[in-house]
Amino acid sequence: MSLLEADSISRRLPEGPVLLSEASLAVAGGEFVAITGPSGSGKSSLLYLLGLLDRPSSGRVLLQGQDTTGLTGDALAALRLARFGFVFQFHFLLPEFSALDNVAIPIRRTGLARAEARDKAQTILAGLGLGSDSAKMPDQLSGGMRQRVAIARALANDPAVLLADEPTGNLDTKNAAAVFDIFAELARDAGRAVVIVTHDAELAKRATRRVHLVDGRIVSDAAQG
């Protein structure tokens, strides 16, 4: 059974435009999937649907075989909290909180006390090489560091699925390669799937599988390397 499965999902806007049509995709634990495609091809739309942040107009998204179609907003939020981690092109860190607190927030949301959550967050940050920067505020960190804090936050509750939308888009080549390495490393865990949207063909080559989108349709889906 696949960890995460899209079963012929489409996403249409009420005004008419079709963002995604009849995409089917099954991702297993340990897979590192790169989604590529020209601008406007529906990569982000697919990612939001896979991450239960958006609902498909038709089709189903299954998590560990369980259909998520009829779930309430609160149930979807609970799944996002426990099973998913998101990283976006922009870091979206809360500007009023330190790197440590930004990572601790989703941990505290699961009910853990502040001190324990901060301990856990510190360990995660240290694992990403940010152990000594955890007290800094987001605006005191470099772009690459911020994105690593955002990855740490996505990993806060040890998610089964890690989704990233052009996480290296705002970074220089060196930082981009470093961040990409982190994802590759994270995907080595057999229990976890990593799905990453990227424009960078070089980086995409390093994924274990590549899904190519054109005009809202999956045109190729192949294992690689």
Partner: protein, 414 residues
Amino acid sequence: MSLLTDIARGMLARRKRQTLVSVAGVALGVGFFIGTAAVMRGFQTYFISQIIDVQPHITIKDELRRPLPQAAELANPGAAVALAGLRPQDRIRGIRAPGDRMAILEAIPGAAAAPLLTGQALMRYGARDVSATVTGIDPLRYPRVSNIAKDITQGSLDDLRTTANGIIIGVGLAERLGISLGDSMNAVSPRGVTLLMKVVGIFRTGIVSLDQTQAYTLLKVNQILQDRPSVVNQIVLRLEDVRQAEPLARMIEARFGERTESWEEQNANILTVFTIQNSITFSITGAILLVATFGIFNVISTVVFEKTRDIAILKSLGFTERDIQVLFLIQGLAAGAIGAAMGCALGALIIEGMAQIRFGSGATSGNDRFILAREWQIYAIASGVAIVSAAVAAIIPARRAARLDPVQTIRGAA
């Protein structure tokens, strides 16, 4: 919960100045309410306690609320009767069977009653004539319904009984007549009876109109003076619990038929003025609070608008719509609570400031300063209203925040 509080604090700290302005608005509203309410309530409570202290709580009069029906009306029930030039057929004035009534009234627990006969008389001493209201009292019962015993400054109430035709007069009346304790004067009633009366006591109530016109004799003596043997024209009552006055008055009137007025009815005009005063205070304070509430609405709306990204990311992290709504409600409540706390401090300052004010020396008997009500209930009401309205003001932006679609925001930011 403490997580949402932490996030809320972080968001509000970002808008310090705007938050401070709206908090100050709430504080002003609350502070002024506490200040004015303390003055109003202080004065009103004092005034009412004076009324309750000085006046009878219930007065039974020798009249009816409606005139008795005339013979022609009785003969044609339900018909429209026009009468002209007829003298009303009135019964002899006075409370019927006062003895029986006193017995019934004195059986009421927590009530003391005293029969009175009041009438006018002209006091004649030397060349001076001064008109006075003479009240015939029972010296055993009357002190239980009045402060007479306390007000007598010379002589004593007991001397009314031991002296033939003794009279106790107000200090102002004594001055106008030029008479002193132990002197005798003539009292002439409208019915033409003249009695030689001896001043056995002088009282001072502090109320000038009473001190200048009031005189007390034995009930029997006044019945002779007024030429109304055995007649009583008022029964006054004093109660342990003044709140029972109105219902008890209605019961007595229903039973006896005579017009019976509680202290509230007798002072209805001044009590109405108090009600008007209170509504003015409440509306002014309400207006201030409304403006302050609008300020809070403004701050929370601005925060929601500015924090669209943070709301989106919190939702993507797994925060529910309810979490987001609570997050902004907390911010409104916090602004309201801080405003209320500052307002309470301001109110206390205003009260203590007013307590220092003196109105100069002209006033009598120590009324040279504000009488202030320092009641915790005033603070509680003001704070409660402020916090509730702040929460209400935050509801609309909080709901809007909860409904924001994270996908739209994240797309827009990319």
